[in-house]
Symmetry: C5
Subunit: 360 residues, 5 copies
């Protein structure tokens, strides 16, 4: 049922409960306790790390009364972004994209929670590195949000900090606003990823216009494939965000709906950027091909100029290397200098003609 | 009326009847008995293998009161996936795709029913082999499902096993859930087919980037044609699955509707994957063409470098092979060594100039 | 007003009247009698052959109270397929396509009616021949169907036979079912045309992959233009068939509506096939271009290998053809054999280098 | 405010009033009289020639109570075809296209009205000449039609004649039918223009397939640009015609609505033809490029065959032009004839090898 | 939060209040006074220059009760054009495009207001210069319009002048008409930008058809990228203008709605023009590539003609430069002249053959 790569670390659950004036954070080891823990008042956020543990997913599904299809979707990792309304909850799948194996602000190196690498370092690391696509699922109920991620790292460190310290409006709002904030942070990561690709594109274009390298084509191909992955993550998300707003979903309060509209705008902007970059990539390939033709033209011109000048001259020299007994020119006094004059004028005439055609 | 390839084996009918606590499986030899057999209580699944026997189809159509157009559609094999609502039943056509002549878990080598090849072997065989597309039709009535397939092999072996043993929820649900399960199994096969094509694509890309072979182009063309076939099977299926959900069809209970939504998602995912692979194929063709240009450029550079260096030198050698009486250079003492010096400097200068142009 | 090619034969009208137990077929020479003839009971089918006789069309229009725009449309031959509802009748235009000047089962060589060539011969003739597109119009009223065709030949021979003999359900149904049957026969012809193009495409592809001929490009171009014609005939037909079903047209009984849905499916299938063939044609052109590049590469490699090996050797031979007095090598004993050794090693080295580059 | 080219002639107004049994035609010199003139009974058609006189347009706008935006649109000449409903009138803009500077049946050389050149001459002139696009605007009120054109020439000569003589149904109908007739005449011109382009396309294709000329590419480019202009004129017109029908516009009587549907069909047909021609043009460019490659291939083959045959032979001749003292072959008796034999066999072998590769 | 380039100048606010008979214009230095200033009667237009001062934006947001998301959107500069309805105001974002660093009629060199450069100079400057894209936001309330721009320059100088002098209908209308006028002026700028690009395109096409330069490809690429930017600014604007009309927004009076329809038309026209230019650019790239092939063909023909004529002749000369003792031709009397005759006929034959192939 689990369709991703093999994982060796254990899955674990983190439960955060908060109200405007209270905050509590704990590790959940015994899933059977879950129902009791979630029964307490306030907003509850249960974060499940490691969807490869299908046994755990099934236990959670049973404890929280999730539909079998939801549990199945959580573990099968190739999901397209989508939103589905079940009887008692809203289920949403989206993809987290980063440009390196480990997503950026790594606040959860262990199940514990502290801020790891500083943001600056993470951003500078982003510009390089291969694309990493991870599945991120949300289950939203009244005042309860359950999130599922593959790896322990995520971009939610600053958010957790704000929850802890009570800064901002987060603690004053419900689970729906928390869900919006998480979705928005994931979409914000797309912008970072696309900016990194934008930089790659620009440097690649400069490189190609300066003179294509042997591996330029390979890099164009790799970029194209990566952008296809990004596009498959973003394209359906646009509809998902749209339907989150439109549907008369009681899961989102009208106040949060304004924010969802904003997140929807962001998703559309990302889509726009992806399409623009894809077009640029196509035109880059065209430029590459065109430059190959330009270069071929240059090479051929040199070959043609040299051959066209010297082949007739060589022929003339060949003529007067012949050994016939009866060649009167051999005995003329000025024959040799005259031949040089003829040859030089011939070469000169050709050079003039090439100049006129713009080949020199 | 039958439009497929000629078949030599006889068509046969298998009838499975089940309830939560009962299971019965039998061969139907006499179609006239059909109405009586189907009148018994419980869910009934009639599987017809071999639609080339149009006489049999007509008999079944008469026994079950199918519309003439339905019977016609069953036998004309080029059908596009579609769903049609008739007065007393729902008719659906879709395509079963596999990557070898015989579809995978071959549980029906004879009209009898046992599991044949183990799943692992089937999957490994998949990666190779030509694409095989077969028509699969369903007629769904209240508690009665009739399916029609061309060949005896199908991917439903494990499902039959589950029905027999009573494992899972299958026996607790109606014919609509059985129909969903069959549809979902067929769609799951698409994923396997596309994964095999994905592997082909990847190895083809590697091969082309390493250095295109003579038959690379042929293989690109073959892949493109196959993906066109897959696309024609999947594209309309998306709409079919959508209309199965949307239409207020009394044939599907609300509970099963959730599952249909899931199958619809799968169909959309398959479509996505097909389109992505088609794009990759197009870009592969572009890369092939570009690499041809790159190679041509290399070839031309070598030709130009060699010609440009030696043609002028050969001309000089030709000059001093002439037989004029009055050629003073012939009598100079250092003429010959001097000529070598001139030639070597000429060649050296050209090599430097080629280096600067990046041709060497 | 008539926009087609000039026709020399006279237009004529054939009137068929039938009920479940009666059949009557006659030639109509006097249009003024038409109203009286059509007043009789039963289903009436008036077939007008030859729309170049605009005078006749106007007379018919007056006799049957057709709108002036309908009469105009009948005679202007470039019509796009369409359906229009007038106050007292339904007007429909579609195109009959065949792959030779005369459409296939030629049952009407004269206004009389007998079956001509057997079907098998007609089909074999189809695979060749240029595309022929003819306008076919229908006017459907309650129990009255009027059809207009340009030429006397049409694919309706077997249908007329069935009407005459009373086989099948035709005589039991109304004019709407007759209209459906005619439309369906016309659409069936599309399949035959497309199959013939499919054969052409396949043989063209084989030819190109085996080694493109001089006229391959011309044939690709011709095929593309033909498919454009087919597409313009089929694309709007899809919408026409759709609107025939959807509109609450009282002209079609609910029973016939099922059949129209089937014909609609066929139109969509034809459209699919056209688009697939167009894609194959595009990819065929790409393959042709790519193969040209492949061949150019081969040609250039041969040229480069030969030139690169022999040009330096010829230079060396040129050197020792010079006539300087003071060339010590001339007097060495082993100079000549040594030069051969040098030349052969040079050539050998180059061949090894070409092997390594994969040029040999 | 006026955005077109400068015009030197004066603008003028022609007013035609007609009823079933009356016809009156006059020149309007004083715009202030306009309101009084238009108050008379019957259908009135006011034709304004020369929209460069913005002062006049403003006067007309004030006299007829047109919205300022309408007046602005009349004078700014780059308008896209559109229809707009104002409080008391319907405003429509479309484009008149011709293939020469002066549009065809020039019935208004002066503000007066007589038929100029016969239609036949006009049509023959059409096939040549550059594309000319002119803005044509209509304001339709109850029984009043005001039209605005840039130049005095237009395709409405025959229509005016019919109005004068009272032939046809024109005089029996209202201003809405007059508007339809004008629109239809303008659309009919599109067909003529496209036919001329079709002829151009065909002759260009023949020329290219016979052997592309130096200016073929220029002509392809020019055709493409012209078709873009036509497309921009026609594409929005389709929607305009559609909305004329659909909107419950009281400006068109139900009877005229049938005619509008017909004009709509024509617009769609024009659009179809434009798209088809654009596709043909694209494929023509592809063919041009492909033929260039074919020719390059031919050129390269000749070069390669000649070089590959003679370069090794020249090398051999060079060998035996050397002056080493110790070259035993020089003294063999049959050396010279033997060399000829070797050379001829070498050349023969190569020719055979080229034949086998299909290069000769 | 602010995402644009760093700005060094201070942000400032200009408040204009007017009624039909009154006009007042002042600088706002203390944002806390804003609420009081805006409470006065008449239409009020508050123009904020410099959105890099996020502190100021927050103060304004607090004073005018803007939603936090609106304030965020104001400062994040990559916004896509959009319109959003909040509880008490309408928020709209669009982009101002110009073809030089400073937008044209620079009426606000300092926060003060006078007209700078005359329009003619500005327009002539337009044709050159890089594309400059600036974010322009509007907040529309009842009788209050707040606009936000990045730089002090804008195209609103003539409008301000009209407001001051009371010419036109501006002072008689509400804030909604003012908003329309600003939007229309911004869209009018697009036309100017596109005209400049049209000129660039035309000169580039001429240049390429005359003979492509080394930097032509670079210029095509730059143009393509610029048009992508324009397209991203205009494409969503079309929908924005559409929804301004359609939505039953109480912010626009029915009278102004007519004007919005006009502005919508303009946006569609701009979109059309952008798409047309993009197509022309694509076809320009194709032409460039084709011309490269044409030139290559020319180069190859010269090379082939020269090589093919002289290589065989050189071979003949080489033959008779050999030193075999026994070469009878050497002693023939007319051998040398005869060889010349042979050579000249050979060359002549080849020239004739090349003429026939059209290579000369």
């Amino acid at each position: 049922m689990y369709t991703g790569p093999e994982r060796t670390y254990g899955a674990h659950l983190q439960l955060i409960r908060y109200q405007e004036d209270a905050y509590n954070e704990q590790q959940v080891d015994d899933v059977t306790q879950l129902a009791k823990l979630l029964a307490e008042p306030g907003v509850r956020w249960l974060n499940v790390v490691g969807v490869h543990d299908t046994k755990l997913l099934e236990d959670i599904g049973r404890a929280l009364e999730l539909h079998p299809l939801t549990v199945e979707d959580l573990a099968s990792l190739g999901q397209r972004p989508k939103v589905e309304e079940y009887d008692s909850y809203l289920f949403m799948v989206m993809r987290m994209l980063t440009r390196h194996g480990q997503p950026l602000p790594t606040d959860t190196p262990a199940p514990a929670t502290t801020d790891g690498t500083p943001a600056a370092a993470a951003v500078s690391a982003l510009a390089a590195g291969p694309l990493h696509s991870e599945q991120f699922s949300l289950v939203l109920q009244d005042n309860l949000l359950i999130t599922f991620q593959e790896l322990e790292t995520d971009p939610f460190g600053p958010l957790r900090e704000r929850l802890r310290t009570g800064r901002g409006r987060l603690r004053k709002m419900g689970a729906d606003y928390l869900a919006y904030t998480l979705i928005d942070l994931v979409i914000d990561q797309y912008f970072e990823v696309l900016e990194a690709y934008g930089d790659d594109l620009e440097s690649l274009e400069e490189e190609i216009l300066r003179g294509p390298q042997r591996d330029s084509l390979q890099r164009v191909t790799d970029l194209r494939r990566d952008l296809l992955v990004v596009r498959r993550a973003v394209w359906p998300l646009r509809d998902v965000m749209g339907s989150l707003q439109r549907k008369d979903l009681e899961y989102f309060s009208p106040d949060v709906s304004n924010y969802l509209r904003d997140a929807h705008d962001h998703a559309v902007q990302v889509m726009d950027a992806v399409e623009t970059q894809r077009e640029q990539l196509t035109s880059l390939h065209d430029i590459y091909l065109t430059l190959l033709s330009v270069r071929m033209n240059d090479v051929m011109k040199v070959l043609t100029v040299i051959s066209t000048i010297f082949i007739p001259l060589t022929f003339l020299a060949g003529i007067y290397g012949m050994n016939f007994e009866n060649m009167p020119e051999y005995h003329w006094r000025w024959a040799y200098p005259l031949l040089w004059v003829i040859m030089l004028s011939l070469a000169g005439g050709m050079i003039v003609s090439f100049r006129r055609r713009g080949w020199l």
